[in-house]
């Protein structure tokens, strides 16, 4: 099992990439367990993105396309990167590339 220390350093590394605004880990139930941005925004992101993960998982399953690994939401502000893994979801908010 990954140690708290390794875990934190990975998150830090992610947060250090250019344009990254926030790194959030949430449960599949939409409860945030780690975040480096403000609470209100964290709760919204965790709730809404985890709900999308649920839908996406269903879609992939019904299409018999294997398992859901990753998806990106491209927005005018930038990107939302979503990586579900077992019971957890890693979410990265990122600005648009200059």
């Amino acid at each position: 099992m990954i140690s708290q220390k390794q875990f934190q350093s990975t998150l830090k590394k992610l947060a250090g990439f250019e344009g990254v605004r926030g790194v959030i880990i949430t449960t599949k139930e939409g409860l945030p367990i780690s975040s480096d941005i403000e609470t209100d925004k964290t709760e919204s992101v965790a709730a809404l993105v985890s709900s999308l993960v649920g839908k996406a998982t269903q879609a992939v399953e019904q299409l018999k396309e294997g398992d859901l690994n990753f998806f990106t939401i491209d927005t005018t502000k930038g990107e939302i990167l979503v990586a579900p893994e077992n019971e957890y979801i890693l979410i990265v908010l990122k600005d648009k590339k200059k």
Binding site: G30, P32, E43, A46, S51
Partner: protein
């Protein structure tokens, strides 16, 4: 006077917000069930009893918060083997949501927080309305003491009957 539909509309909006929400009940802090909606009309529960417990549990937690100096209580979550209950403060009322087990908790919390202020407004308006005895006799009673007597007698007679 507030339309009954006003509460139904907000509660329906909540129930539609997440697939796993089975029932939404609005209670006050005295145990009274003010309004409720269900996703399935056949979901058979004793709403008044459930509402009374929901209110009592929430208010007890609030008391606990006062005892422990933990500030205001926003949400109480109860997680069971086969479902969950969330109760959120909304002004003078408590909004209670009964869900399936695999519901998106984050989304439920978000919806509760989002709708709480609208319900709070609605409730304040609703609770400030004067309570009128529902028979027409009660309205006449405002001008004539005797019909008030009649109306009262009627209500009392009902009580003596059982």
């Amino acid at each position: 006077m507030i339309n009954v539909k006003a509460f139904d509309n907000v509660l329906s909006k909540i129930i539609k917000a997440e697939a796993g929400i089975r029932k939404v009940i609005l209670v006050d802090r005295t145990g009274l069930t003010i309004a409720h909606v269900s996703k399935f009309s056949y979901f058979p529960i004793d709403v008044d009893g459930v509402g009374a417990i929901a209110s009592a549990v929430f208010v007890a937690s609030e008391e606990q918060g006062v005892n422990l100096d933990l500030g205001d209580l926003d949400i109480v979550s109860s997680e069971f083997g086969k479902g969950k209950i969330f109760a959120a403060s909304c002004g003078k009322g408590i909004l209670c949501v009964i869900t399936d087990n695999d519901v998106n908790i984050g989304l439920v919390r978000l919806v509760l927080k989002r709708e709480a202020s609208e319900i709070e407004k609605l409730l304040n308006e609703f609770l400030s309305e004067k309570i009128q005895f529902p028979t027409s006799a009660a309205e006449e009673a405002a001008s004539a003491d005797e019909s008030m007597e009649d109306n009262l007698e009627e209500a009392l007679k009902e009580l003596e009957k059982f």
